[in-house]
Symmetry: C2
Subunit: 256 residues, 2 copies
């Protein structure tokens, strides 16, 4: 059996699970494209990139209300839809002026985000030697839609509606590991965000940072380079694949 010896956990990594929004897919391009089409069809004066940024800015506060216990678990689809109302209002647009189906349809853009150029190839390479899957705050249905549209060759998809916990809550990392029959230390989280990697490490997982310096557009100021002591630090998923493979003993590699 193949694997990667993780210094941080003292165990052999068997599964590499990926944060999705920002790490595997480019939410800003996908959402701004959907917003641009939505605005054009309705002659709305919106800056699509700023709208996408404002929508994403509601993401962590809305998750925090669930994580803190202020409200019971609701799906990320519900949160994205609610947050869309908030953003529309912040732009002096009344959500009630649109048919509900229109806004639900726009919110479904979060299911169909484009992958970064290296994602499909890199995940396919890592899949040769490791179980691969998303470890995302998205629902299972969202992640299935995303994988089919983007061609992400996951082995397994376990959404936040299965763990019923949002990252960086420990259960969000530990429940997928348990369902794979693995200890937390046999699972590596690959993510572009230090807060996520911090949460994974606290839950006992191995960690890999993947730099996505354009995730937030040209003005990005955080998560530009690895700031923590992660097991691996990579510039792309194909770079992560190369590093995971370099570390495998030669006789454990599957040459396909």
């Amino acid at each position: 059996m193949t694997g990667f010896p993780a210094r941080s956990t003292g165990q052999t990594v068997r599964a590499v699970l990926f944060d999705t929004f920002g790490t595997v897919v480019d939410w800003r391009s996908g959402i701004s494209a959907a917003v641009r089409a939505f605005a054009a069809g309705r002659a709305l004066a919106l800056d699509p990139e700023r709208f996408a940024d404002a929508w994403r800015a509601q993401y962590q506060p809305s998750l925090e209300r669930v994580r803190s216990g202020q409200r019971p678990y609701v799906s990320l689809d519900t949160l994205h839809r609610e947050n869309l109302d908030t953003v529309l209002r912040s732009q002096d647009l009344d959500p009630a002026a649109f048919a509900p189906g229109e806004l639900t349809s726009l919110a479904t853009a979060w299911h169909y985000l484009p992958p970064w150029p290296d994602s499909v190839e890199g995940i396919g390479q890592i899949k040769r030697d490791f179980i691969v899957g998303p470890l995302s705050n998205g629902t299972t249905a969202l992640l299935v839609d995303m994988a089919r549209a983007a061609g992400l060759p996951w082995d397994v998809i376990l959404g936040s509606d299965i763990s019923r916990a949002y990252k960086p809550s420990p259960d969000a990392y530990r429940k997928p590991a348990a369902l794979l029959g693995l200890d937390p230390g046999e699972v590596m989280l690959a993510a572009a965000h230090h807060s996520d990697l911090d949460g994974a490490r606290r839950a006992g997982l191995a960690t890999a940072f993947i730099a996505r310096p354009a995730e937030y557009g040209p003005g990005q100021v955080s998560d530009l380079t690895a700031s923590g002591d992660w097991d691996l630090t990579a510039t792309s998923i194909t770079d992560l694949a190369r590093q995971l493979r370099d570390d495998l003993p030669r006789d454990e590699r599957r040459d396909h």
Copy 2:
């Protein structure tokens, strides 16, 4: 969006989920091969096929103890391991005469069963137009191991440890549908066993029978042909793929 109009549910099928043991993989060949190797290495006089049949014969009674509430949910791995002890004793072999790791390793053969010749190709064909996954009493980890070893190109794997219900209990069918964001009637179960299809229909799913007349070896007497009024009846998974495709309007087909 593509789909299959199911007469039985009056809805459009978006996902085709498959029973695995017997429908997608040939458990009798896989288990008898593992038993043959186990017996040869220990100079045991066993008939591998009869041993495989005896092991499988414990399957439904052990599930029924969980379904009936006689014992709480335990994983199929635990049941396979317990049932192995039962079968060994029935052959006048003392399970305590083996190191526990040896028997656990033998029971893991249920994770690595070979696919029927048409399974990989047929699932890949159906995947073009439908979400595909297993709908099995196996655990998520078992189904991931099976998919990776056999090359089954599932979109999603939701094991019985997620639904925490064993077929033909209704939750075993309804919970995977709900996690896919679908109504039961938008999901089709494809299976080689009428009891499973009966359960799926009671839970509101569409149904397809796939004949596997050699599943139990040359002496098979049940499930040889379709005995129920299922939405589709096929001789293989590639035949099912053809029938699902024939039924799609031409402009909804994705030509890859």
